[in-house]
């Protein structure tokens, strides 16, 4: 279970996965935030009203996927690095957006090793975009081109050299 392994269970993930109907329309955020802890920056970061206001600061975020534009502002704001952007609209690949706080900063076009929630290698992907939003505190949003079938599994990556 999550509190003994650090890895969320399938049922937990299913409960927070944006519906397929929404995922087919364009990029959307997936909040992998399962624990009641005092934290609310995602609510304040969202400019589209997609994160419902917290009545209790320990509430887990409630997301209106129809309002979410997949912009990624919440990804770089989240102190827990627990939000990811999924884009399944390209025909021959998917794009996953990840928070990134390591050095060196990857370059678009660079090949990376894709990792799952347990840090296991899934294969190769390619950096498609690296952005540092003006708001936030330095966390980068890195978008990776990945095989379509891996969109629910890729949650991290390793550069060919230089990263742990």
């Amino acid at each position: 279970m999550l509190k003994s392994t650090g890895v969320p269970e399938r049922e937990q993930l299913d409960a927070v996965t944006p519906p397929a109907s929404r995922r087919s329309k364009g990029p959307v955020a997936m909040f992998e935030c399962f624990e009641r802890i005092p934290c609310d920056p995602c609510y304040h970061a969202c400019k589209h009203g997609a994160v419902k206001e917290f009545l209790d600061i320990c509430d887990v975020p409630e997301v209106d996927f129809e309002r979410c534009t997949g912009c990624g502002l919440c990804v770089v704001a989240c102190p827990g690095l627990a939000i990811f952007i999924l884009d399944e609209t390209p025909s021959d690949h998917a794009v996953v957006g990840l928070p990134y706080e390591m050095l060196p900063v990857p370059e678009p076009g660079q090949e990376v090793t894709l990792l799952d929630r347990e840090g296991r290698e899934l294969g190769k992907g390619e950096v498609s975009q690296v952005s540092r939003p003006r708001v936030g505190s330095g966390t980068l949003l890195v978008k990776l081109k990945i095989p379509k079938e891996m969109v629910q599994d890729v949650r991290s990556f390793r550069l060919e050299r230089g990263t742990p």
Binding site: V7, E35, G80
Partner: protein, 363 residues
């Protein structure tokens, strides 16, 4: 003799917040701190804070330190003595301070003690070898001085500090062999644990360090599984080639000054050890002495800022300078209650229930 209305010992999140709150009420304040820059532990917290936006959630600790230090500089009523150590506080309301090799007597009408917490150590063979560090020392080396503590680290303790320091080590390009945790569960936030797992760091619950090996320094660590009685299980040993063993096994409030003053203390395991009995305004059994932050019970940075602010306003009210105290108090208390709500605040709530008492003074 130096005279001030309020003296604050400690310039961490709690002390700075106390001084800023008191000065906002027009109280002349002196902060005494043994560090060289204001911020206390904030100066090594490179991660983004949790909590609410009002307490700088989403902002990195190092940036919160700069924000508070900036406010401090803009407050003409606050004087700040760095590299100064409070030695004792006496009957005639004199705080003795060592500064630049000399003892200074400071007379104050009220005192806020915000001395923070100290790391716990752990007993195992080889724990005296160079390379066995506290997590705070690792953060100081790495995040304050830019020095890598080693190349490959074993982390002991999966509370928030152990998990956060592991992540910061990875950011510094140091390898983390594993995080071991004696309890069956990860004590820190799940999101911190998930961050590490994604980067291929194993977290072994129900495991602890059995022994450190090495000649001149740590070269290897033996880890083993422990049963429900926290006894090692022979045959489950795992060897890790590491040059650093980083202990993140908890903190204890630093309360020497409060004990010396004669404040009534109580041993509260949920708050990390001996803490002063106080009322809901952070006022101790000595009426002009207030406590704030981890010295009042180990929590985290956001609650330290809030208990600091509360203690600062309460000290100002005690000095007759905070006419709006009831409202300000209620505001701080509301924010604290929110932070301490939920499962992660359960331990702190249990601890506070036995130490916040009307035995302490009323201001």
């Amino acid at each position: 003799m130096f005279r001030t209305e309020l003296a604050v010992v400690g310039a961490g999140p709690a002390g700075l917040s106390a001084a800023l709150a008191a000065s906002e009420c027009g109280v002349d304040t002196l902060i005494v701190d043994n560090g060289s820059t204001p911020g206390g532990q904030l100066v090594k917290q490179t991660h983004k804070f949790f909590g609410s936006k009002a307490e700088h959630a989403g902002t990195r600790g190092i940036h919160i330190a700069r924000l508070l230090a900036g406010e401090l500089q803009r407050s003409p009523q606050v004087e700040y003595w760095s590299e100064s150590t409070a030695l004792g506080y006496y009957e005639d309301q004199v705080l003795l301070v060592e500064r630049e090799g000399r003892a200074h007597a400071v007379h104050c009408d009220a005192l806020v003690v915000a001395t923070g917490a100290a790391e716990r150590h752990m007993v195992f063979p080889g724990n005296d070898l160079p390379g066995v560090y506290g997590a705070g020392a690792v953060q100081t080396l790495m995040n304050v001085h830019g020095v890598k503590p080693g190349e490959r680290v074993l982390i002991v303790g999966a509370g928030n500090i152990g998990l956060i320091v592991s992540y910061q080590l990875l950011q510094a390009g140091v390898r983390v062999a594993a995080v071991v945790e004696a309890s069956r569960y990860i004590g820190g936030y799940a999101v911190h644990a998930s961050k590490l797992r994604r980067l291929s760091v194993p977290i072994l619950t129900s495991h602890t360090v059995k022994e450190a090996h090495g000649h001149e320094q740590v070269e290897r660590a033996t880890v083993w599984q422990i049963d429900e009685t926290f006894t090692g299980v022979p045959g489950t040993e795992i060897e890790f080639e590491v040059d650093v063993i980083c202990l993140a096994v908890g903190l204890s409030p630093v309360t020497d000054l409060l004990c010396q003053i004669g404040c009534k203390m109580k041993y509260v395991p949920e708050l990390g050890g001996y803490v002063p009995i106080r009322n809901e305004n952070m006022q101790t059994t000595r009426s002009e002495v207030f406590v704030a932050g981890d010295a009042s019970g180990v929590e985290e940075g956001s609650s330290a800022m809030l208990t600091g602010r509360l203690a600062g306003y309460a000290a100002a009210a005690y000095l007759g300078k905070c006419p709006d105290f009831q409202n300000k108090r209620a505001e701080c208390q509301r924010a604290l209650d929110a932070l301490r709500a939920g499962p992660s605040g359960q331990k702190v709530r249990a601890g506070l229930s036995v130490v916040v008492s009307m035995e302490a003074g009323t201001c």
